[in-house]
C-alpha cells in the first residue's frame, strides 16, 4: 500500500476515518483528561459516561415503537449526559457527605436503564457495541462534530488557562482572587458530558474513562505544568490509539479494547519506572 493509495483508495475510507477520529479524540482526551485528573473528578466523568447508555437505550426503545422519533440515540445520549452532569455537579458542590454514593448511584442507574431498554427493544441491540465502541465505524458527521468540539475545547482551555490551573490547584484561593470557580466547574462538567457522547463512538462508554485518565496519568509523571501534561497527554493518547488501531487490524480484535490495554500497560510501566527512579534518586 503506497501513501497515495492510502489517501485515495475508497476501500480504506473507514481506516482513514478511524485515523482522523484518533487525532481528533486525542486532543479531547489530552485536554479534558489532564483537567479531570488534576481536579480528581474522573469518578464524575465516569458516572456521566455510563449514564449515557440510559439515554441511548431509551431512545432506541422508543424509536422501535415509533414514538418520540425526535429522540435519536445521539440526542438521547446528550440529554442523559447533561442531566447526569448537572445532578452530579450540584451534588458534588452542595452535598457535604455521601457524595460518592450518589455519583455511583447515577453511574449504575443510568447504565441499568440503558441495558433494560435495549433488552426490550425489538431486534435486540447488543449493548456491547455502545460499551466498547468501534472506531472503524465512525461516520463523517461524527468527525465534523468532533472537530467542532476540539476547536471549542482548545479555545476555552487556552483562553482561561490561568483560571483553570488556579481553580484546579486551590479552588478557595482562586475564589478569593475573584475567579468564578463554580462556573468553571460546571463548564468543565458540561463539556465533559458532551465529549463523552461523541467519544463513545470512538472507544465506547467503558473505555472513555480509561482514556481520560491513563494517558494524562502517564503524562503527569514527567510534566512540570498543566500545559505540558495536556500536550503529553495528547501525544500519548494519539500514540495509544494509533497503536491500538494497528494492533487490532493485525490481530482482528476490537480496536477500543486494544487501545485501552496498550494505554493501561504503558501507564503501569510508567508508574513502576517512576517509582524506581525516585528510589534511586534518594539512594544516590
Amino acid at each position: 500500500m503506497t501513501v497515495l493509495n492510502f489517501f485515495t483508495d475508497p476501500a480504506l475510507i473507514f481506516l482513514r476515518h478511524a485515523i482522523i477520529a484518533g487525532v481528533l479524540s486525542s486532543i479531547l482526551f489530552g485536554i479534558l483528561g489532564a483537567i479531570v485528573t488534576v481536579r480528581r473528578i474522573s469518578g464524575l466523568a465516569g458516572a456521566i459516561s455510563h449514564a449515557v447508555l440510559g439515554g441511548i437505550g431509551l431512545s432506541m426503545f422508543f424509536a422501535s415503537k415509533g414514538k418520540l422519533l425526535f429522540l435519536t440515540p445521539v440526542t438521547g445520549a446528550v440529554l442523559f449526559a447533561l442531566i447526569a452532569g448537572i445532578v452530579i455537579g450540584v451534588v458534588s458542590r452542595k452535598a457535604k457527605q455521601r457524595e460518592d454514593t450518589v455519583i455511583n448511584a447515577i453511574w449504575a442507574i443510568g447504565m441499568s436503564i440503558g441495558v433494560l431498554f435495549l433488552a426490550k427493544t425489538p431486534g435486540y441491540v447488543d449493548p456491547m457495541s455502545y460499551l466498547f465502541g468501534n472506531i472503524l465505524l465512525i461516520s463523517e458527521s461524527d468527525l465534523i462534530l468532533l472537530a467542532i468540539l476540539d476547536v471549542i475545547v482548545i479555545f476555552l482551555s487556552w483562553r482561561f488557562y490561568p483560571q483553570i490551573v488556579a481553580s484546579s490547584f486551590d479552588e478557595e484561593f482562586a475564589r478569593v482572587r475573584g475567579v468564578n470557580t463554580d462556573l468553571i466547574f460546571f463548564v468543565i462538567l458540561g463539556i465533559t458530558a458532551i465529549s463523552v457522547v461523541l467519544l463513545q463512538t470512538v472507544v465506547g462508554i467503558v473505555m472513555i474513562i480509561a482514556m481520560l485518565t491513563l494517558p494524562s496519568g502517564s503524562a503527569s509523571y514527567i510534566a512540570r505544568s498543566l500545559a505540558a501534561m495536556i500536550l503529553l497527554g495528547i501525544l500519548f493518547s494519539l500514540a495509544f490509539i494509533m497503536a491500538g488501531i494497528f494492533a487490532s487490524w493485525q490481530t482482528d480484535t476490537p480496536a477500543g479494547a486494544m487501545t485501552v490495554v496498550i494505554a493501561g500497560g504503558f501507564f503501569l510501566l510508567f508508574s513502576v519506572a517512576k517509582n524506581i527512579f525516585n528510589r534511586l534518586r534518594k539512594f544516590l
Binding site: 488534576v38 482561561f160 490551573v165 490547584f169 478557595e172 503527569s220 512540570r224 505544568s225 505540558a228 501534561m229
Partner: protein, 266 residues
C-alpha cells in the same frame, strides 16, 4: 507600633453566623487597626476558620456587618488588598506545577490571561520576601509541608496585600521553615496588617500586638464570640521554642473592652 495611623482595616459589628441551624458565632464585635499584628486564638472547632472565611468574603454573615478598609476611602478594595495563606487544602498530590507558577497564582485576575512585566516583578519580589528563591524552580509536589507553607505565603504576598491573613501558619512546620516564616513576618510587621490564626490558646509569637480569643461561650447558645485579650512576654519558661524564639503568653483574665483603643481619638 505606629501611633499616628489608627485607620481601621477590619471591623466586625455584631456579627452572627450559623451553619444551617447550628449557631457558630454570635455578637462578634472587634476591629483591627492599620499595622497591627493580631492573633486569632481558640481551640479546635471554636470557629476560627469561620471568622476567616467571613473575612475573606467566602461566607456572608447571618446578621451584623463586616467592613474592610473603612478608613481608606476606597483606596484598597477587592482581591489585591487581602493576602490569604491557607492552612492546607485538598489538591492533587502530583499536580504538575512549579513553585514559581504557584506564586504567580497570587497575581491571578478573574478573566485575564496575560502576565505583565509588572506581574513578573511582583512575583520575583514575593519569592525574595518569603525567602524561597532556592525553591522557585522545583515542583510544588516535591516540597516538605513547611516549604509549601512558605510558597503559599509568597503567593499571598505577590499581590502586595494590605491585609495578610495566615491560617495556622506554623502547624506541622519544621524549625527552619518556622524561623524563616517569622523572619518574613517580622519584616512586614507595622507596614502591613497581619492576622494569624492559631489553635494554641496560651502562647503566641512576640510579634503579636493583640489577641482575639474565640471560644468564650455565650449563655443559652452554642455559639461563640470574640474577646480581646492582652499578652505579656514570657520570661519564666524555656521549654517552649516556638515562633522563632521568644513567646508571649495570652492573659485570658485580662479582657480589653473593644472600643477602648480608639477612645483617645474620639
Amino acid at each position: 507600633m505606629d501611633s499616628k495611623d489608627r485607620s481601621v482595616v477590619v471591623r466586625f459589628s455584631d456579627v452572627s453566623f450559623s451553619y444551617g441551624n447550628i449557631p457558630v458565632l454570635q455578637n462578634v464585635t472587634f476591629h483591627i487597626h492599620h499595622g497591627d499584628f493580631v492573633a486569632l486564638v481558640g481551640p479546635n472547632g471554636a470557629g476560627k476558620t469561620t471568622v476567616l472565611k467571613l473575612l475573606l468574603g467566602i461566607y456572608r454573615p447571618r446578621s451584623g456587618a463586616i467592613v474592610l478598609f473603612e478608613d481608606f476611602n476606597g483606596k484598597y478594595s477587592g482581591r489585591d488588598a487581602i493576602g490569604y495563606v491557607p492552612q492546607s487544602f485538598e489538591h492533587d498530590r502530583v499536580f504538575p506545577v512549579t513553585v514559581r507558577d504557584v506564586v504567580a497564582m497570587g497575581r491571578l485576575k478573574n478573566f485575564a490571561r496575560k502576565i505583565t512585566s509588572e506581574d513578573q516583578q511582583a512575583i520575583d519580589e514575593a519569592i525574595l520576601k518569603a525567602d524561597i528563591k532556592d525553591l522557585s524552580h522545583r515542583l510544588y509536589s516535591e516540597l516538605s509541608g513547611g516549604q509549601r507553607r512558605r510558597v503559599l505565603l509568597a503567593r499571598a504576598l505577590a499581590s502586595d496585600p494590605y491585609l495578610l491573613i495566615l491560617d495556622e501558619p506554623s502547624a506541622n512546620m519544621d524549625g527552619e521553615s518556622e524561623s524563616r516564616l517569622y523572619k518574613t513576618l517580622s519584616e512586614l510587621k507595622g507596614k502591613r496588617t497581619i492576622i494569624i490564626v492559631t489553635h494554641d490558646p496560651e502562647f503566641v509569637s512576640p510579634l503579636t500586638d493583640y489577641v482575639l480569643c474565640l471560644g468564650e461561650g455565650l449563655k443559652n447558645t452554642q455559639a461563640r464570640t470574640v474577646v480581646l485579650h492582652k499578652t505579656e512576654f514570657v520570661s519564666d519558661t524555656t521549654k517552649y521554642s516556638l515562633f522563632n524564639g521568644k513567646l508571649s503568653r495570652v492573659l485570658h483574665n485580662e479582657k480589653i473592652s473593644n472600643p477602648c483603643c480608639c477612645e483617645d481619638k474620639k
